[in-house]
Amino acid sequence: MSVDLADFLPAYLTEVEELLGAANTHLLALETAARQRSASPRHVRELFRALHTIKGLSAMIDVETIVSIAHWMETALRQADHAGGRLPESSIEPLMEGLRAIEQRVRQLALGKPIAEVPRALLERLEALDLNAPGRASTQTASARLELEPTLAAKLSTSEQEQLLAGVNGGRRAIRLDYVPSAERAAAGLTINTVRERLGKLAEIVKVIPVAGPTSGAGNLTFALLLLTSTEDAVLLEAVGGPPAKVTPLSSVPAEPAPAPAASALPDESSLFEEERAAAEPRRAGVLRVEVSRLDEALERLAALVVNRSKLARAVAELTAAGAPTRELVQVLQENARQLRDLRAAILHLRMVRVGDVLERMPLLLRGLRRTTGKQARLVMDVGDAELDKAVADRLLPALVHLVRNAMDHALERPDERRAAGKPEEGVVRLACHARTSGRLELTVSDDGRGVDVAAVAARAGVPVPGSSAELLELLCRPGLSTRASANATSGRGMGMDIVKRIIVDQLGGELSLETQPGKGTTFSLCVPLTITILDAFVFECAALRYAVPVSAVEEIIEVDTAHLVRPPGLGDGGVTLVERRGQAVPLVRLERLLQRDDGRAAPGPKAFVVRQRGTPVAFAVDRLLGQQEIVLRPLEDPLVQVPGVAGATDLGDGQPTLVLDLPALGAARGGAARAERPAQRGGVA
């Protein structure tokens, strides 16, 4: 191959990914339509278009198997299109399989694995969908020719030209029917939309092309409808309101240049827009696709600027302290801070993806689960147009997949059980999300199933029945515990809620909660930060080192009054003490002990961060609060330094990495260990 595949592959994969997403959506819509025995020409067209593009792209990089699967799917869809957008229910399954087969091969391509052959059985099933198959080969070789004027030909894709040719070879006439809109006609209910509808019954509409330009009349717009039909001209003309409409054959003499509509009216604006949209290929105007790595790079540059500003601020502060006239410098610095904030917002905005797009595959997941579990359920998505940072979205998705799968596997009852319980046979899984202020997004995954059988889960784990939903969640999130509490739940593996928790709580620094009612259903609520790359943080000092903690994780900062500390009995001096906060006893942990930097001081630090750990407030005592500032979080990826409780590192401008702590995780991971390990080692060299 002369073209280097490696160069082209990333672009191919992103584009095909997108097209497959669209294809899935349209096929699912067609499935719904088929079940309701209604026609859906738009989805047939869109699906065809997506497949056709996939086919073209795949041919460019020589992936013959994908080309042939796509080809046979196209052929089946052409049939559906001929039938006015009606797809028999029986053909959905082979098309689904075809799409799966293409996806599978695209994945193989992405992973650099050898591409599997086309399963013979699948091709045969797809081929069987093509009713005209026997005659096809011979008609392909027939020598009909299209006579298209160049302007029209340019607007027709190869497949559309093929479609016209095939029609001619099949004995129909290929014609161009010009429809001229006018205000009077619109008033009489004749618009391009009604014209489409009427003609759809008389002919196969291959394409509608708006032709603008000066005409002999005052009008300046004509719709050229390219049709395949066996209907007589007079009938067709009647359908579009008679003259100035006219019919031009496409398979003989070239048509004359744009005909002159006599009507002196304005074009029907709304239909004009629609046609233009249809004529412009599916790519949305003004949307640019950018590789994530480039956005990362921009963020990286911004991070360098933010760090540099911190350095500058320090230098200026030193100058000021030395008595230098720095007022103007300070002003510039402030202005610079504002600009950086704006730039940060702009770049982060670029990295935002719509939650709805992230969840595009969910209906498909549910469809698959319907088949594997044999349960009836529909997915209701109410996600609005909230947006999330791409990095957060990528991590969030697997957690949501887990939860939806859980709902189908465990929560929803079988149809007969539901009937017996007086519920509709079809269960509902609902995915909802609404943005919340303070940079966090809240999502819920709920079902109207049987609810978690708390007693059964407790018995399974061999523990007392949990008293609150927080405790129940804690129990469900135990590694290895299955939510499959009931004996008659059929399907497989107990999906690990521990994975969901790890993603939401540990990786994203979010919150997870649960609400369940016997017989009514279960709702999981997730609350995640919109972005995890640049964040607002409190910087503080503890045991002579500086640390940062995300502002979003801190509920409150309190003063620790040593006189009012209460030490519960039996824990010795290493234990947790209690501090009073608005009449509530909050456990107070000495952070330096968790950080293994205990220097044997008697008193805890004078300030404390209150965070929520497993739903209850815990205070972490520190020495000194140094301020609040924007930081760039660098995750620690090396296994040597991947430890629970440390979310990453940041540079505060002194060239020395500062740890960004995840206090709830730190407390949870080391709460026990820190006590046992005393006296703590003094790690490293400060």
Binding site: L545, L595, G645, Q656, G684
Partner: protein, 145 residues
């Protein structure tokens, strides 16, 4: 063919690592300790905008800890996608070593050195130990796949 090696000192002994595995050398101004990291991890340093973990060669080799001096260096190595620093007492020299100059370490040494020493180069009176960088920084399994 002889290849370029970076030579450094730890507790009086000389070690070498192929220059192709070394990204850069940094003077050592302190590392940020990471609670819960393995004991031979001195902490994190920042190298040109990247946050890099540093392995303390003395701690790793079972030598007594020593005061850091102006000579202390961080040898920043690249292992696949990982970037890890090695804190050494000093590093001032690069030298070319030919394959025939390298001998496998005596069995006793190989055993005692837990596989850290890949080979020994004899250069007149000097003995320079060629180290296995991936073993020294630990987590061999990360490298295995």
């Amino acid at each position: 063919m002889s290849t370029l090696h970076v030579v450094f000192k730890v507790a009086g002994a000389e070690y070498a690592i192929p220059a192709s595995e070394v990204l850069q050398m940094e003077s050592f101004t302190g590392a940020t300790p990471v609670p819960g990291a393995p004991p031979h991890v001195a902490g994190l340093v920042q190298v040109r905008g990247r946050v890099v973990p540093v392995v303390d060669a003395r701690a790793r080799f079972g030598m007594p800890a020593a005061e850091r001096t102006l000579d202390s260096r961080v040898v920043v190595g690249q292992l696949g996608t990982r970037t890890v620093g090695l804190l050494v007492d000093s590093a001032r020299e690069v030298m070319k070593l030919a394959p025939e100059q390298l001998q496998p370490p005596p069995p006793l040494v190989a055993e005692q050195a837990r596989g850290f020493v890949k080979a020994v180069a004899q250069l007149g009176p000097r003995l320079v130990m060629l180290i296995d960088f991936s073993r020294v920084i630990g987590e061999e399994k990360v490298h295995a796949d």
